[in-house]
């Protein structure tokens, strides 16, 4: 935990600096305006467009320094924690669950939401939940079917279908 605390504070500090830099970005079409021209008070108008995000990001950066100071002085609870940030179990869990979620996102592009829901439920229930194949198949099939009727048919929210789109054309003929 001790190491993770300072590494995170460092990364968040970098992010705050990026936010500050980005807040001062001049408009794309106007080369006459310099970077950071918009972060101050404009005479007679009040704050410029970059004022609010720039100074708040600056406070974020100061908070990161504050966290680092607490870390060096060992005054915050996490800066003295000897516990590992992620133990073996947590790493395995993250790879399986987080990986599953990224797989879900990629599958949406290929087989659409309904195909991806089926695959994700099956994966999670069989691999992580150790449920029986039959039970998993039933739930993994039922969920996309229910979702289709809820979203595409009842709510008229068309979820992406990827390469499976042609399969849905007859369903539209029947239900829409």
């Amino acid at each position: 935990m001790r190491k993770a605390e300072i590494v995170t504070a460092f990364l968040l500090g970098i992010m705050s600096l990026y936010f500050m830099w980005k807040s001062g970005e001049p408009p794309e079409w106007n080369p006459d305006v310099g970077r950071f021209a918009n972060i101050g008070m404009i005479e007679g108008e009040g704050p410029g467009s970059g004022f609010w995000p720039f100074w708040l990001s600056a406070i974020m950066f100061l908070c990161c320094i504050w966290i680092a100071v607490n870390w060096f002085r060992k005054t915050s609870p996490l800066s003295t924690s000897e516990e590992p940030f992620l133990d073996a179990y947590a790493i395995k869990m993250l790879v399986l669950v987080g990986g599953g979620l990224f797989g879900f996102l990629i599958l949406i592009e290929i087989v659409g939401f309904y195909g991806a829901i089926f695959a994700f439920m099956l994966y999670y229930m069989v691999v992580l939940g150790r449920h029986s194949i039959v039970q998993s198949l039933v739930i993994a099939t039922a969920l996309p079917v229910v979702s289709f009727f809820f979203f595409d048919i009842a709510m008229r929210i068309v979820l992406p279908k990827g390469y499976l789109e042609p399969l849905f054309i007859p369903l539209y003929d029947m239900f829409l």
Binding site: E28, A154, R156
Partner: protein
């Protein structure tokens, strides 16, 4: 959610409407899946209200065999919607309701790489009009009185409008530049909010569309002074146009439906046919006269040349106000 709209409509539809129109001619193109109906503005604005009315008319009169599915994409003053259209995976099922940001946004954000001439000209449904409004307590009843008062108060005269570099801003700039005024312009999120600021006397004037200010007009809180149109509006027969008051300026908001770049000609013809029917429906005509909209239906080459003129005009206006180089 056991409710099926189609079934319900089937039940009551036959009894309620005799005018249900089924296309008699066989079309070369028929949509095979729900149609992505993009709205280039947020919920509740003029464009959104109109888009939802069009959708309602299509549903009510059963004009398509697949539903229109509206999605609001207001990001970046319409940039998000334009990029979505440009990258549409199935242009034959992607159409969009546009306003004037269709002309200005590609000019102001050339990085988007959007050429509006690539869009399919499905149909122009109307042109919205602009009027100059003040609160009745100002005691101003004519454009001349307004000019005198605004000149006297300088930057204490506050004009509100929808967003920076928007239609409202263009009109305000015109008034400032041509009549020696120095009104202050404050951008708000939507036309309804602007009208409320005038009615609550938080700001001095606005250039709302009639539909946004109508409630306060009827109650007498807001007074129209001049119309930025070519002829007087039937709803406001006593309000002169700016041309009558000596200015050479009129300005309209396009309310048109466009198809995604790459839409096939058959599909474009199908949608033009569809929106011609919407345009001719009683509901649309009633809305048009109730909200004081102008402009006839326009499609195909006519609409494209209209876009071309409008684009050139907006380029000039934006350059003059320093919003583009």
């Amino acid at each position: 959610m056991t409710l099926s709209k189609r079934n319900f409509m089937g039940l009551v539809g036959a009894a309620a409407f005799a005018l249900s129109t089924v296309p008699a001619t066989v079309m070369a193109f028929e949509p095979t899946k729900p149609i992505d109906f993009v709205i280039m503005a947020g919920k509740g604005g003029g464009a959104d209200k109109m888009a939802r009315l069009m959708q309602s008319i299509v549903e009510q009169e059963n004009l398509t065999n697949r539903p229109l599915v509206p999605t609001n994409k207001s990001g970046g003053s319409g940039a998000e919607a334009l990029v979505h259209m440009k990258g549409a995976s199935d242009p034959d099922h992607t159409i969009m309701v546009t306003l004037n940001s269709f002309f200005t946004t590609p000019l102001r954000q050339p990085g988007l790489g959007v050429d509006i001439m690539e869009f399919a000209p499905v149909g122009r449904m109307a042109e919205d009009t602009f009027l100059l409004w003040v609160h009745k307590d100002e005691g101003i009843t004519s454009f001349e009185q307004y000019l005198a008062a605004a000149k006297e108060r300088g930057s204490d005269w506050v004009m509100g409008g929808t967003g920076k570099n928007s239609e409202d801003n263009i009109i305000t700039d015109f008034l400032n530049n041509n009549y020696g005024l120095s009104m202050k312009y404050i951008p708000y999120k939507g036309g309804g909010e602007v009208a409320k600021q005038v009615a609550g006397k938080q700001i001095t004037s606005s250039v709302n569309n009639p539909s946004e200010a109508l409630g306060f007009f009827e109650s007498g809180d807001m007074v129209p002074l001049v119309a930025f149109t070519d002829e007087r509006l039937p709803m406001f027969p006593d309000v002169p146009t700016l041309k009558e008051a000596g200015g050479d300026f009129s300005y309209f908001m396009q309310r048109a439906v466009v198809g995604a770049p790459g839409m096939s000609d058959d599909a474009a013809a199908y949608y033009t046919d569809l929106f011609t029917k919407v345009y001719n429906s009683a509901a649309w005509q009633k809305y048009k006269s109730d909200k004081s909209l102008m402009g006839d239906f326009m499609a195909g080459g006519d609409l494209k040349s209209y876009w071309d003129t409008q684009r050139t005009r907006h380029e000039g206006i934006l350059k003059a106000s320093g919003a583009i180089n």
